[in-house]
């Protein structure tokens, strides 16, 4: 019986194992696996209900001059501080003093409203919540390892490497701010 089927060497007459079609199929496979993996990774990013709480509104009339109010935001404390003119003046005067993380006071508040200082109340050293009004610089003193911040929230003494973080915030009216 005439035997026209080749079966001895599967690769006989096959000069190019890297045929285009195999590369195309393999590329499509990589694309498929990538698109399948992405949702499995992205699902761990903050969900819609967490993002819904990502910004809060705060009524500034609650804060007395010279005082601060602690506002919980995204699981962290935020200090909303109503600075007295003396405190503002002291911060500006020390703009050029040597510090670890130099910053001008003007860059840490909104234009025209220097009395409002909003910072995240988490020490940039290891995360403790600094105490209001204590320390040599009149700003905050962190009880854990002694970091001291001035009335602009800048690190002046102690192990913390950076100034207190300014979160994204804005006025939505003269007396209301949106944080986040």
């Amino acid at each position: 019986m005439a035997n026209t089927v080749v079966d001895s060497d599967p690769h006989a007459g096959d000069p190019n194992r890297r045929d285009f079609i195999h590369i195309a199929a393999a590329t499509a496979a990589v694309g498929a696996v990538g698109s399948a993996v992405w949702p499995l990774v992205n699902q761990m990013n903050p969900s819609a209900d967490v993002l819904a709480l990502a910004s809060i509104e705060f009524d500034l009339t609650k804060v007395q001059p010279g005082q601060q109010i602690v506002v919980p935001w995204q699981g962290k404390p935020v200090f909303v501080r109503y600075r007295t003119p003396a405190e503002i003046a002291k911060a500006v005067a020390e703009d050029n003093a040597p510090m670890k993380d130099p910053a001008k006071d003007a860059s840490r508040h909104k234009d025209g409203k220097p009395q409002w200082l909003i910072v995240v109340g988490v020490c940039t050293h290891l995360g403790c919540v600094p105490n209001f009004g204590t320390g040599e610089y009149g700003g905050w003193l962190c009880p854990c390892h002694g970091s001291q911040y001035d009335t602009s929230g800048r690190i002046r003494k102690g192990p913390a490497p950076l100034n207190l973080e300014i979160p994204k915030w804005d006025f939505i009216s003269d007396t209301k701010v949106k944080i986040g």
């Binding site: 019986m1 035997n3 199929a25 949702p39 969900s47």
Partner: protein
């Protein structure tokens, strides 16, 4: 299988690794150079498809478990599933993949098992392979049952109540065991919490048994559509690239069907009642399990006595375990057993029929408009009597037909080897063969 490994580590690192833990060699011998019969048809792709399904279920399941909450104040479990559907990024997709993935997993396993039945893959020397498969099937059923309870919808709760109450049918120890299972006087929060824990555990047990299943397969090597053993190297080809690519193609084709359900018909295989939070005081009008349990549900309800019904239901699965010893046929593949093929086809239709019986109420009229007559406890024109007829065939197929057929049938002529019918066409068949064997199964 037997034979010396052809793996040759080429780099310094691979030689170093091979002398300490020959894992690359194991992968090479099992999945690259593994000699596989060259005549496997598409029914053989479902093993790979099943492995893919298990991987998909575990990946999506672990991710869902990052957001699912089982127990708390209020409808916590139900609401956490809706939180996944509404708030979690891509959560709706992961949930629908997992829920429909369970159905696809069972579709594939039934096809895989039917392939085993038709081609005699359970026969010696693959009895342990078959039994391990039955163990995987049982674990899958347990996992599927536990998983369906987790959303804590009306049908989840009803399913938990019905199945745990079945255990209560056992004499003497029944009540103690059900109280122990429930963690209370009825299905409740403790039950749900432990079901969640077990649902997370069982798939990894399945994965372990799958490893044994593949090991047990690789000892004798794959069966093939002719049922004839591999005789020489001419009968086999390396698993890679021939079957890696063929399996890959079959997997993608399967994924297309999977995608149609997930993206276009995600609730088609579910039940509307499960979108209502569980209410212990309000039982759904028609309690039905998921489609893959329906045949067993029909068998359970066909028997009037509760304990016997439970035993028959578990017995219908238990029979599978001893199938290798029930089958007396000397011929492995039904390709050459025309009578067996016929009874097998009827068996498949009976199984599907039992599924439809399970979906309907027992006392519902089978043929509408026909009044029928009362036979014992139910009208003859009811789904119960159809279930009883079909259940009889189901058990008879394994206990009567299969043993007898092997002794009484006249099989067709079986080819000498795998290569013979392909290489030499009609001349390969011995004289006197009554019919030409089909080329492809």
């Amino acid at each position: 299988m037997s034979g010396h490994s052809t793996y040759e580590p080429k780099t310094g690192f691979t030689r170093w690794l091979d002398s300490r833990l020959p894992i690359v060699r194991l992968a090479w011998d099992s999945f690259v150079d593994f000699p596989t019969p060259k005549n496997l048809n598409y029914w053989w792709t479902f093993g790979g498809i099943l492995a893919m399904c298990l991987g998909i279920q575990i990946a999506t399941g672990v991710v869902l478990a990052m957001h699912y909450v089982a127990v708390g104040t209020g409808d916590v479990a139900f609401n956490s599933v809706e939180h996944i559907m509404r708030d979690v990024n891509g959560g709706w997709m992961i949930r629908f993949v997992h829920a429909n993935g369970a159905s696809m997993f069972f579709l594939a396993v039934y096809i895989h098992m039917l392939r085993g039945l038709y081609y005699g893959s359970y026969k010696a020397p693959r009895e342990i392979l078959w039994i391990l498969g039955c163990v995987i099937y049982l674990l899958m059923m347990a996992t599927g049952f536990l998983g369906y309870v987790l959303p804590w919808g009306q049908m989840s709760y009803a399913g938990a109540v019905v199945i745990t109450n079945l255990i209560g049918a056992l004499p003497i120890v029944g009540k103690a065991i059900t109280t122990w299972l429930w963690g209370g006087a009825a299905v409740g929060a403790p039950t749900l919490n432990r079901f969640f824990s077990l649902h997370y555990l069982l798939p990894f047990m399945i994965a372990g048994v799958v490893v044994l299943h593949i090991w047990a397969l690789h000892v004798p090597g794959n069966n093939n559509p002719t049922g004839v053993n591999v005789k020489s190297k001419a009968d086999t080809i390396p698993f890679h690239p021939y079957y890696t690519v063929k399996d890959g193609f079959a997997m993608v084709a399967f994924l297309i069907l999977f995608a149609v359900f997930v993206f276009f018909l995600p609730d088609a295989l579910g039940h509307v009642d499960n979108y209502e939070p569980a209410n212990p005081l309000k039982t759904p009008a028609h309690i039905v399990p998921e489609w893959y349990f329906l045949p067993f549900y029909a068998i359970l309800r066909a028997i009037p006595d509760k304990l016997t019904g439970v035993l028959m239901m578990f017995g219908s699965i238990g029979l599978l375990f001893v199938l290798p010893w029930l089958d007396t046929s000397k011929v492995r593949s039904m390709r050459y057993r025309p009578s067996a093929k016929l009874y097998f086809c009827i068996f498949v239709l009976v199984a599907i029929g039992l599924g439809f019986c399970g979906a309907n109420e027992p006392d519902q009229k089978l043929i509408p408009g026909v009044s029928g007559f009362q036979l014992l406890d139910y009208n003859l024109n009811s789904f119960v009597w159809l279930s009883r007829l079909l259940t009889t065939y189901y058990f008879a197929y394994f206990l009567v037909i299969t043993p007898l057929l092997g002794l009484t049938e006249t099989p067709l002529a079986v080819p000498d080897s795998i290569s013979t019918p392909v290489l030499s066409g009609a001349a390969a068949l011995p004289k006197g063969a009554t019919a030409q064997a089909e080329k492809k199964g």
